[in-house]
Amino acid sequence: MAHALRAFLPARAVLYEEEDTRPYECDGLTAYRQLPMIVALPESEAQVQRVLKTCAAMRVPVVPRGAGTGLSGGALPPGDGVLLSMAKFMRVIRLDARSRIAVVQPGVRNAAISEAAAPYGLYYAPDPSSQIACTIGGNVAENSGGVHCLKYGLTVHNVVALRGFTIDGDAVAFGSEAPDAAGYDLLALAVGSEGMLLVVTEVSVKLLPKPQCARVIMASFDDVEKAGSAVAEVIAAGIIPAGLEMMDRPATHAVEQFVGAGYDLAAAAILLCESDGTPEEVDDEISRMKAVLERAGATRMTVSSDEAERLRFWSGRKAAFPAVGRISPDYYCMDGTIPRKRLGEVLNFIAAMEKKYGLRCPNVFHAGDGNLHPLILFDANDAGELARTEQFAAEVLEKCVAVGGTITGEHGVGVEKINQMCVQFRPDELELFHAVKRAFDPHGLLNPGKAVPTLARCAEYGRLRVHGGQLPHPDLPRF
């Protein structure tokens, strides 16, 4: 394989010695590791196409990878295949201020797009917390969100076109700068497909005019459920805040030690409620939001007085994961989404699970869009704790499905949540996902074994968790 790749890639772009491949053994989900057989680092579209054609001809699996910041193991390498690093695709190809479009290569960092657009008063809206490191190619694969997606949408709403290759090396382009491209919306299908349908080599994104001003309210509540109801009240008042985030007390305490964001440590939960737009709009919206939050029982409210204070309030939320990393040897981040009105119920459930498994679990929450990030604290060196953590997480994700939500809002399924896919989807639906995959990749070579479980795997998982004598899929053959 290395020989075949070196026919058209320089020697330094084909790695197979363990010391060279070791850095690629995992992504942001470090609990899963696998040394890739080979790492390929192409730098042109023609090289990507040849890597894919070579692998397809030899029936060798390929796993694409961006910055490796993903949290679900989507870029976990194949032990018997090629890890295709897109790290060299770092160019902003075109930035057109007049049409407000940036055409970039997939290895360009999310934050770098906004930096390139800043001189024109424009920016790229989706802002996952890893935005200083994560790449746009990875964002496309995962349909990444961020803290402003209630108002500005996810990756799928902000990408207008993709270029790339199927596993057979066919060049394809989905979407366009012209709205409503003809045919099926393959662009929407490709976004969030976890690198299983195609390898993306160029991404065209929408740029938005930077809001003239933004201010954020930090509101304290003496009860988590009250904070949850306040979120619903804001929406019911016809307001779509630019950002609406919630953190519970364990989370604010962890963060405060780390970055000193100025949070109210006495509060059971705090809400960060942001408004952006023209100064007139922001003044109007902030006063309306304050009135709603006050009625909903906020015990204290602080409105950011300048840009420095606004960024400081956000710094705590954006640093929540590393902050938690400092108070525990390891943490496990969940990503369920629920209907907002079920928040109290789900938080109570999580509190019960903390007792059941003897593990702490601070909560940060994209409250505006119902996306929960409970962080289970554990010590990976304690095998018992790791196993308990996995059971804890599985119960919480299944609770999310039970209340009408989903097992993953923005981190993807990858290898991490593949068993819970058996709970969220029925066999016919999983089979349709496999059929969609085969339409793009008949031999199942692109990122195989991720995101969509086989029915056999679900049958096995179901056998392990029989509830009340009822198997989840009684119609399936058992192995």
């Binding site: 049409s99 709009e281 869009d369 009408g404 993953t408 016919d428 969609v436």
Partner: protein, 350 residues
Amino acid sequence: MTLEQLRQRIGEAWARATPLRLRGGGSKDFYGNAPRGELLDTRGYAGIVNYEPTELVVTARCGTPLAELEKILHDHGQCLPFEPPHFGPAATLGGCVAAGLSGPRRAAAGAVRDFMLGAKIVDGRGRLLGFGGEVMKNVAGYDVSRLLAGSLGTLGLIAEVSLKLLPRPPCELTLRLEMPQARALEALSRWAGQPLPISASAWRDSELSVRLSGAAPAVRAAAQKLGGEALAEADFFWRGVREQSDAFFAGSDPLWRIALPSVSAPLALPGRQLLEWGGGLRWLKSTTPAQAVRDAAKRVNGHATLFRAAEKSGGVFSPLEPAVARLHRALKAAFDPAGILNPGRLYEEF
């Protein structure tokens, strides 16, 4: 009508390989290639399944009249943000999603697909399948529900859909300015680069209409900046553009819907034009040969749809690149292996 009846009907058609023509109110019969197959009328499967204003979500059955749905949302101060055209009082929600057509607010708010959160479908084998859900963020499995928007019922019968909603803007104001097309395009592009609450734009006959939507102070401030005259009968005007009851759309000449990058220069094609979406959509009433229209659109990286015409034998939608066409055929086979669902409606070959 029950979901089970719909499922059985398609299951039987699959067993007998009988083509089906899926149809709601028939308000968009004119759109796409000519419908064919045994009629499956979806209007009997109607009604709202779940509406939670504070969750910004509605789930409704395909046969629900679009007007009825919009009325209920309106009463709760909310709306379908993509402002879909109805093309007649019979329009249903299922047809709205299947056609995937968005109205004047599209450039500001997004298209039908942008607000799809979930769907239940019956596929070409009569299997009832659910994708997505009622939550704002959901990346479990491929995003099949968005794929359905604009699929013209060729992938499955869209039985129920969940859509994201937005509050209705508290204040709207439409301004009218006199200017030729090139200047209008230049102005729209300049304004779009600024944080202005423009929610719709339309240019025809040297008149540019711009709708501002949002908080009253923001609308007032933007109106001062843009200038022009306030339009008194603004709702009537935008309804005319959306529903094609405006005088521009009268007459029997073919109507083309040309989508292109919004900053493209005026298209030099014979006939009359109406521009929307900040310049990204150009309606053309013209007897120009189809190939000439398609070529003109393609030269600027756009695409042309023969939206209304008596003669559509040359195809309605822009031809697909060969590799993309192959993916279309393979996806169609995954959802509808016997090719019984609205065959040929989108592209003749499937």
